[in-house]
């Protein structure tokens, strides 16, 4: 099984008029001892949120909707098998309030089909891609073991007088003697599907292939080569035009979001007090326009292939459109609290890429303000728009909640370098990871 991370988002209209019961069911999923998602081998993150009815054109024309999302590891089929087996009762307890669920017969296959039928494609990025759930934990334990061993070494020897190679060898010997870390003797190797990740293929191979075929055509005049040149060129052009068009229509100005009340801000903030990692789900109706809806959906798909937002504190992030492409949903898991995390977007070059995705949501500053000038021109308006659409998740599960994304990736680098042959400078750099 490969370890590529992806996002599953099930969004389905709530039909049973008992929102509180659904909320209770979602909260029960989170309660300790009842959280079966921690037993799931493929679920890295899971969230359950009730989106309220919202206005697109007329009042409440966007229905109350349950959004259940996961960031998972491996093929979607295995993930669905995993959660519909391990967490069947839990999932049924929330989906029974949703449209189309009660006509099902109650089998795992039915549940799986229901989830697939109601799932939506998203622009999903995981900043610890290719690291399995099991590896996140055991690489953390490996680091702790080495840290403790280094402390012991320092009580006996002055490590400043030893070469970095000798220190690395001592660590290697120690890990070898501890049988429980045998898995670490081999460096993690990527599966073929991970190496040929679609984004990398598109970004690196497509232009290269295009150039090679063009050269071939230039020197051979072969009509097939011409075709092979034109088709990808047209694809690239379409991508470019879609993005430009989206930017253009994103320029439409809408009323800034209403000021969010202090009471609501307080409620939102109270849900963000986990010590290391927190969750944010936000939703806004798209700005009106049929063209926008379709172009936006297409653009999100394209962006998923060509762009991976590198927000420093994020573990996983996604954008998608639901409710007949009329509602934008944003789900993120990150270090620190919402306000400080959202301020990440106001820094440096991050706004240019990330906020492109927000420009078409109602209440956000227009594309010109968000992208071309940078949202730092209207920081408070932007923060208010995010807050106005922010929801409190009634269910949230995250694997290893005390690890920041940087520590997860650092642990992976430690594992990779443990038995790797490195030159002196590389070995020093590796030792500095501790």
């Amino acid at each position: 099984m490969h370890n590529t991370h992806a996002g599953l988002t099930v969004a389905v209209e709530i039909v049973v008029n008992d929102k509180e019961a659904l909320r209770t069911a979602l909260r029960n999923l989170s309660s300790s001892g009842n959280n079966r998602f921690s037993d799931s081998k493929t679920t890295l993150i899971a969230t359950g949120v009730i989106l309220p009815a919202q206005k697109y054109k007329t009042e409440n024309d966007l229905p109350e909707t349950l959004v259940f999302s996961t960031t998972y590891c491996g093929p979607v089929k295995e993930h669905l098998d995993d959660i519909t087996t391990n967490c069947k009762a839990e999932l049924e307890s929330i989906f029974k309030y949703c449209k189309g669920f009660n006509s099902l017969k109650g089998s795992s296959a039915d549940l799986k089909k229901f989830m697939l039928d109601n799932s939506h494609k998203s622009t999903h990025t995981s900043r610890f891609n290719y690291i399995s759930k099991e590896d996140v934990t055991r690489e953390k334990e490996l680091r702790i073991e080495i840290e403790d061993y280094l402390d012991q070494l320092q009580t006996k020897f002055n490590l400043d007088n030893m070469s970095p190679f000798d220190i690395q060898k001592l660590i290697q010997r120690h890990i070898k003697t501890r049988g429980i870390y045998n898995w670490a003797l081999k460096k993690p190797c990527k599966k073929l599907i991970e190496i040929f990740d679609s984004r990398k293929v598109l970004i690196t191979l497509l232009p290269t292939a295009l150039f090679l075929v063009f050269l071939l055509f230039k020197f051979s005049n072969c009509p097939i080569c011409l075709l092979l040149t034109v088709v990808p060129a047209v694809i690239l052009l379409v991508i470019l035009l879609t993005i430009l068009l989206l930017l253009y229509i994103g320029r439409k100005k809408t009323e800034p979001a209403d000021m969010v009340s202090k009471y609501r801000l307080r409620t939102l903030a109270a849900s963000q007090l986990h010590p290391v990692v927190n969750e944010m789900t936000a939703t806004n109706a798209l700005k009106n326009g049929k063209l926008r809806r379709h172009f936006y959906a297409v653009a999100l798909r394209i962006i998923n292939f060509i762009y991976s937002p590198q927000i420093p504190t994020v573990r996983a992030i996604r954008w998608l459109v639901i409710n007949n492409k009329k509602r934008l949903v944003f789900i993120s898991n990150y270090s620190n609290t919402t306000d400080f995390y959202v301020r990440d977007f106001l820094n440096g070059n991050t706004p240019i890429g990330v906020n492109f995705m927000f420009t078409n949501g109602k209440g956000f500053p227009d594309a010109k303000a968000l992208v071309l000038n940078g949202i730092i021109q209207k920081p408070e308006e932007y923060m208010n728009a995010v807050h106005s659409g922010q929801m409190v998740a009634d269910f949230w599960y995250i694997h290893e909640p005390d690890l920041t994304i940087d520590i997860i990736n650092k642990n992976r680098r430690i594992r990779k370098g443990l038995f790797k042959k490195m030159n002196q400078e590389e070995t020093i750099q590796w030792l500095r990871l501790f």
Binding site: A270, L273, P312, I376
Partner: protein, 537 residues
Amino acid sequence: MNTVFFKKNIKDEPTETEKGDIQGLLARGYKPLNAAVYLFLHIKDAPKARAYLSWLVKHHVTTADQRFDGDNNESLNNKHFAVNIAFTSCGLKAIELSPKIISTFSREFTEGICYEYKKNGKTIRERSTLLGDVSASDPDLWHWGNSKEKPIHCVLMLFALCNNCLADLRKNIWDSKELRSGLDLSYDGDTYLYKSGIEKEHFGFNDGIGQPIIKGFSKAKESDTTVNTGEFILGYHNAYNNHSPSPFVITESPNIDLPNFPVSPKDSNLQNKKIKKDLGKNGTYLVIRQMEQHVEKFWKYMYDKSREKGNTQMEKAVSLAAKMTGRWPNGESLTVSLDGSADIPADELDSFLYTDQDSHGLRCPFGAHIRRTNPRDQVHTGRNKEESLEMSGRHRMLRRGRIYGEPLDEDFNIERMICKSMRAEIKELSDRQQTQKVRGLYFICLVSDIQRQFEFVQNVWVNTVGFADLCKQVDPIIGPRSENAMSECHEFTTQQHHVRKRYKDVPEFTTVIGGAYFFMPGIKALKYIINHSGCSK
């Protein structure tokens, strides 16, 4: 050096700062005025309190355009004392300012520093959690700032040349009971009078280095450390070249002596004839936190545990203390001075960056106090030097703190402090009796946005366990240690050429024992608050 520092944030702004309308503390720390006291007051009778405050504003409140004895320009007109005043949000309520106006202040200010509420049977303490005010620093244990029965409403800050002058000032301004019968003294915040020439905090380190220069407040040509005025004073352009959110008044009377509020699209919703006036202009938010410093515990830990370089255990102790602080006791940065004897001129003590000089933290550890509170050009979430500088520049604070209590050694001699610490019996801070105030610091900072500046630094840089890829550690000097709601954070790491040194079980060296958020209005706003409060009654 520093050629790109904050340059991106600075934009020419034609408006001159209105120094006559700005309270003096914003412009200066009143260094020549050695003696100071902070009187934390409770308003018990609003009309009488307003009358007293009105008298105070008319005769005593110091503005930023006034000069002092000890300033470079000696003049007979120089003042030899200073008085400033600031209100908490419940203070504004107590003085009977309209709730509508109070609601226009920021959420952080209106809720206060230790606001709590119940939800689903659970007590939520958002701000205490963010700021790390837990365990021994729990607001329930504070000496002031936490009282629900007799809350702090305002702070009167008195500064004078010497203790006798301060006593006179206090007698004139405060001690006449008839004059101030509308107010009670809730907490007497006396400070320590330095012997001339020594200005250190209680651990024995030079303090007050690294202050940003406010644009429009220095005669010196704009330098790399100049920060837009609006970062610290409301009503001017801030680091985003925008205005920080400011309180306002909606009125029909154009004659009110307050400046107009900067126009926003939402203002078009205002009904005819109504105008929006800026109550924040020339004012600022003031954060005061009283922090007890456990000096004996600090030096005992350094002496017992240090494995840093040094010929004697004393030198090793100083070396570890310097690594935790980020500066040598004389104020020289570890980044530029290997042993604290580089003889760096005072005005260059803050001229350093990290990326080029110490990118691996080998000199100044990544987790050191000054590297966390101002990471300069190496913010761990920044992609490059320029971006990091820009990010750091959006979270600056203007510090005006003073110490209180007798120092462990009156000359702040570190060797003697260590000797005394080793002899002292260190008690665990398990209950209130053992945290009686001894010595510490009134941390005072001025910001135009409490959340973006003070709370951000405290939460994201000081209290984040994963800061700069570190594990299980927070700011070693002011960060809170492990508590049920937090991750483990009792370690400190000093990066070395090959293998880091890890210190475990680092205790808390400071405990917060009081605190509040205040609004320090400009003079016009102060007059408005005093004259227009109580009108609805």
